[in-house]
């Protein structure tokens, strides 16, 4: 009883020491330009490679039973054939899935000018940011656009590691993307986590019939991709300034297909 009464204040000392130690780590990481925290992410590979198992063990027994050699070798040959067929079946299934995922996106205009790197979600972190497959191993870099199978931009890469990246999507309040309409008026899209806020930056020639807001190479984007369908949005036009709020309706799941377009 006496021990529990006396302990509390003293027992925090080691905790506080470790807090200071962690602060030191932050400082080192800060001054080393994140060398420390990005060492492991830049060397970890999340991608799994499927290898065909070999049948050399079976072949060793071949020499022990000479009289059955022919039968065994035939057996091995057939087994290998079955194995090959199985791996071909898996490959075929994977290709079919890939074709399916490319089916919708192939209808997006001018998409053939881009090399599309397929990606998908890994998980969501405590900062409500999404982790997706693909990193520096696929020549991805910070700021690369990420589009869905309909060709709409779902975000951009905020941080890129070796085999995975952090996606800045409209679900994050740090989301911030410059876009353009078909009359070259420029807008800024930000987010409060549940809604996208569109505000005009420069309006030279505003007309009511704008259909989409696009990304553009003039903003260092990889290409022109729609971000928001503006046909059902009511814009508030005041003092040569436009503002609108759009609810985010897209839900991300493991099945959401993502693509990172790279200009060919």
């Amino acid at each position: 009883m006496l021990k529990t009464e006396a302990l509390p204040k003293r027992s925090y000392v080691l905790y506080i020491l470790f807090i200071l130690l962690s602060s030191l780590l932050i400082l080192i990481d800060y001054f080393s330009n994140k060398e420390l925290s990005s060492y492991f992410p830049n060397s970890v590979n999340f991608e799994i490679e499927i290898e065909n198992s070999d049948f050399t063990i079976l072949q060793r027994f071949n020499t022990l039973f000479e009289q059955r050699a022919q039968l065994i070798s035939e057996n091995i040959r057939l087994e290998q054939e079955v194995q090959d067929l199985r791996s071909l079946e898996i490959e075929n299934r994977e290709l079919q899935l890939q074709i399916e995922s490319y089916e919708l996106i192939s209808t997006v205009p001018n998409i053939q000018n881009f090399e599309l790197l397929a990606s998908g979600f890994i998980t969501k972190n405590l900062n409500l940011e999404y982790l997706i497959y693909g990193g520096t191993n696929q020549q991805l870099k910070v700021g690369d656009l990420v589009i869905n199978e309909k060709g709409f931009v779902v975000g951009y890469l905020r941080e890129v590691f070796y085999s995975y990246s952090i996606l800045e999507s409209p679900y994050s309040s740090d989301f911030n993307l410059e876009v353009m309409d078909k009359y070259n008026n420029t807008y800024l899209i930000t987010s409060n986590g549940s809604e996208m806020i569109i505000s005009s930056i420069l309006l030279d020639n505003f007309k009511n019939d704008i259909d989409f807001l696009y990304t553009d190479i003039s903003f260092n984007h990889s290409g022109k991709f729609p971000v928001v369908d503006t046909r059902l949005i009511n814009f508030e036009y005041q003092n040569n300034q436009i503002n609108a709020v759009v609810e985010i309706v897209e839900n991300f799941t493991f099945n959401t297909k993502l693509f990172i377009p790279k200009f060919k």
Binding site: Y15, F18, L25, D29, K124, N127, L128, Y130, G193
Partner: protein, 148 residues
């Protein structure tokens, strides 16, 4: 022995932390989070507060900073340690109050979520998450109580 116990505890903590991120992604709910890792921190801080928890908490924070966020190394270690200290401190300080457990749980959970404090719908997000997590903690304790 202490070394192995720390290693095993750290693995356990990291698994729970990664499970938390995965479960919140799988449920796909944006207006609240289920935080088994917070429940673990709170439980150990209130029921068995000791220096043995420091290394696992620091390692969990470091693994989170390394693999799941773009923060500087050590940010989450500090956060987890502060959550543990504050939960324990409030629990001990307000022992006279009848709802002391909920109070320390709320403060601990608030610190745990400080990183999302700037979100516009933080209040509703926080309240719903707090209630669901407290409910889980409450029923977990009830189940334990019945077993004992």
């Amino acid at each position: 022995m202490t070394f192995f116990r720390n290693i095993l505890r750290s693995i356990y903590f990291v698994v729970v932390l990664f499970f938390e991120t995965l479960i919140n992604f799988l449920t796909g709910i944006d207006w609240m989070v289920i935080s088994p890792f917070f429940l673990l921190i709170y439980y150990i801080s209130v029921k068995s507060f000791s220096n043995h928890n420091i290394i696992p908490l620091v390692i969990s924070g470091l693994s989170y900073d390394i693999f799941l966020s773009e923060n500087y190394l050590g940010v989450y270690s500090i956060l987890f340690l502060i959550v543990a200290i504050v939960s324990n401190y409030i629990q001990k300080k307000v022992q006279s109050v009848s709802y002391q457990e909920f109070l320390s749980f709320t403060f601990g959970f608030l610190i745990y979520n400080t990183i999302n404090l700037l979100e516009t719908d933080f209040v509703s997000f926080f309240i719903s998450s707090l209630l669901i997590n407290y409910l889980i903690y409450f029923f977990y304790q009830r189940t334990l109580g019945n077993r004992v």
